[in-house]
């Protein structure tokens, strides 16, 4: 049985299914207090061991959080009340939950944002031990498995060993989710929107994340055809690798700049800077994750990427929260978030938070070739207001004697009003076309809704016409125009984008080689 879905990260995976939605095992109470105490001690030790293994693979910021979790778990002051309750007759799981819940309540009651946000860490710590207590053997998926279920948490992705292949198949999910981005940058095949009917949760399956589909209980003929497609895909990828280290160029000898999109500072660790022309898009929403990052955290993150890139440009997008990317304490709940207070609209509405990011960017700018762009710009007034905030913060930092530099300020072209009337934005230092949002707004098809995914087509003539018009305007006025949406890395869309006049694309790191190979095939 094959179920069709939407490819979120290309590739092929053949392997046993792993049920993401399997219910959690229940804790079995032990014979007496001594055994209960031993069970809790063991579970805490196990949770620490698991976190320690994750720290190994994590980078600075993530590792810092995990180390904090470990330190909390190692502290007797955290578990003391739970052991006391066990002494007075409670089972380990009840005692641990009660002890942690009371600690969590203390954090939730804090009047400081930062402190309140730590409640989420405490809940995570609580659940990790509860999982270890119930001896949930499903904690880790076996290597090479296809993880199948409604949706998947980013931590699950990070915990999974992808070294022996495997993939992700989701009934819901989104190609724009954090996990989809992680999957693309690590080259893990992923399909979303598999919807109905629900497939079996055991046995072997074939995941085709090139066309988008999963085959359950495959016949020998299906397996053979699948392996052929997978091997052809691998060949194409292998051939593409030869393009990786060369500058991108079309068949006609036209040079094309290819930059990469990143979401986390650590994403650059896996990229050879020589293989790309810079960072065309560094998202900053993920830094904002569950808590609002302070200026220092942001500064360090930006500086790290700038130092990695050396002379090459790094284009950082100011926080694009809202829409499908809520940030507690920042975004607002809306009935129609894609058309609401998101991107630059939200930043201008919450200037206290925006100014923190601006200061971090101004300070980081001295460490490399920084460019900054604003998301969701719809009117020239928004651009002027944002630019004025940069000027104000620059003056304030200069007055304090803090080293800083004003980077070139550009805009994302993703709201149709900008693509239709770009002449109002001749002041902007550069344009970057966000093809995902531009397409969803032109086609009126939400990008996170699998039911209208067929409408979400960047190659629709209406979308391509707008892209061509923006590229032509940029050439005429000497404003650099690039494109940083998913279309830039899609071999099927690249010919149309180059024909529309674009010569500067930014793609997911895992798509770099394929994108360059696809460019070499175009005759413009």
């Amino acid at each position: 049985m094959r179920i069709e879905g939407i490819p979120a990260s290309p590739g092929y995976a053949e392997g046993p299914l792993f049920d993401l939605d399997r219910p959690r095992a229940r804790y079995k109470a032990k014979a007496g207090a001594a055994e209960e105490k031993a069970a809790l001690e063991g579970a805490i030790g196990k949770a620490i061991g698991r976190l320690a293994a994750l720290v190994e693979a994590a980078d600075g910021d993530v590792a810092g959080i995990l180390e904090f979790h470990i330190a909390m778990l190692e502290d007797d002051a955290l578990s003391g009340p739970a052991f006391a309750s066990i002494g007075s007759g409670q089972p380990a799981d009840v005692a641990w939950r009660a002890a942690l819940d009371s600690e969590i309540a203390g954090y939730e009651a804090s009047d400081q944002d930062y402190f309140r946000a730590r409640a989420a860490d405490l809940r995570d710590i609580r659940d990790q031990v509860l999982r270890a207590l119930s001896e949930d053997s499903e904690v880790a998926a076996p290597p090479g498995a296809i993880l199948y279920g409604e949706d998947i948490a980013p931590t699950r992705f990070l915990e999974t060993d992808w070294s022996e292949g495997g993939g992700i198949a989701l009934r819901a999910g989104s190609t724009a989710s954090h996990v989809a981005m992680l999957a693309r940058s690590r080259g893990v095949p992923m399909v979303v929107g598999l919807g109905i009917p629900d497939g079996p949760r055991t046995g072997v399956a074939l995941l085709d994340a090139e066309r988008g589909g999963i085959t359950f209980s495959p016949s020998p003929a299906e397996i053979e055809a699948f392996r052929q497609s997978a091997s052809l895909f691998a060949d194409r990828q292998g051939a593409a690798q030869t393009f990786l280290t060369e500058p991108a160029m079309t068949k006609a000898g036209t040079a094309v700049r290819v930059q990469v999109n990143i979401a986390y500072p650590s994403d650059v660790d896996g990229i050879d800077v020589a293989t790309c022309d810079g960072i065309g898009l560094m998202r900053t929403e993920f830094l904002f994750g569950k808590t609002l990052p302070d200026e220092e955290t942001q500064y360090r993150a930006y500086r790290r990427v700038l130092e990695w890139a050396g002379d090459k440009p790094v284009t950082i997008r100011t926080v694009d929260a809202g829409g499908d990317k809520p940030v507690p304490g920042f975004t607002v709940e809306e009935t129609n978030p894609f058309l609401g207070l998101r991107g630059i609209r939200l930043s201008l509405a919450r200037r206290d938070i925006f100014r923190v990011q601006i200061r971090a960017l101004l300070r980081a700018a001295i460490h490399g070739n920084l460019k900054v762009m604003f998301p969701m710009i719809a009117t020239p007034d928004e651009y002027s207001q944002a630019a004025a905030l940069f000027a104000q913060e620059q003056a304030a930092l200069a007055a304090l004697g803090v080293a800083q530099k004003l980077p070139p300020l550009g805009i994302m072209v993703e709201v149709p009003s900008v693509a239709l009337a770009p002449e109002a934005f001749a002041d902007a230092a550069f344009f970057s076309i966000g093809s995902n949002d531009l397409t969803q707004y032109v086609m009126a098809a939400a990008r996170d809704n699998a039911a209208v995914a067929h409408l979400n087509a960047v190659r629709h003539p209406a979308v391509l016409r707008l892209i061509a018009a923006v590229a032509a305007f940029g050439r005429e006025k000497g404003i650099p125009v690039s494109l940083c949406g998913d279309a830039g890395g899609d071999p099927a869309a690249i010919p149309a984008l180059l024909e529309a006049g674009l010569r500067d694309l930014s793609v997911a790191p895992a798509q770099l080689a394929m994108a360059k190979a696809a460019i070499a095939d175009v005759a413009v």
Partner: protein, 100 residues
Amino acid sequence: MSASAEATVLITHTVGLHARPSVKFTKLAKSFTAEVEVAVATNGPWFDAKSIVKVMAAKAPKGTMLHIRAKGDGARAAVEALVDLVQRDFDEDADHARSA
């Protein structure tokens, strides 16, 4: 014979004595045998500086005057080392250089 030492230091780190700084602070405190305590007010309450749960509970944001006191072997060295760590902003930038 029991040595004791006490000092006060201003927290200048942007987020104050929070998650990551607290990890470093308690780790350093644990490297001394002396009993070490912290407080955000001169009259207490005093928290065990070797317990991250307690140190986090002190809720010390940027701009807090942190009081540190120690008793026992190496008390003075412990207080000096902890004051120095706070004054170095918990080495947050140096750490960055290591991971970059």
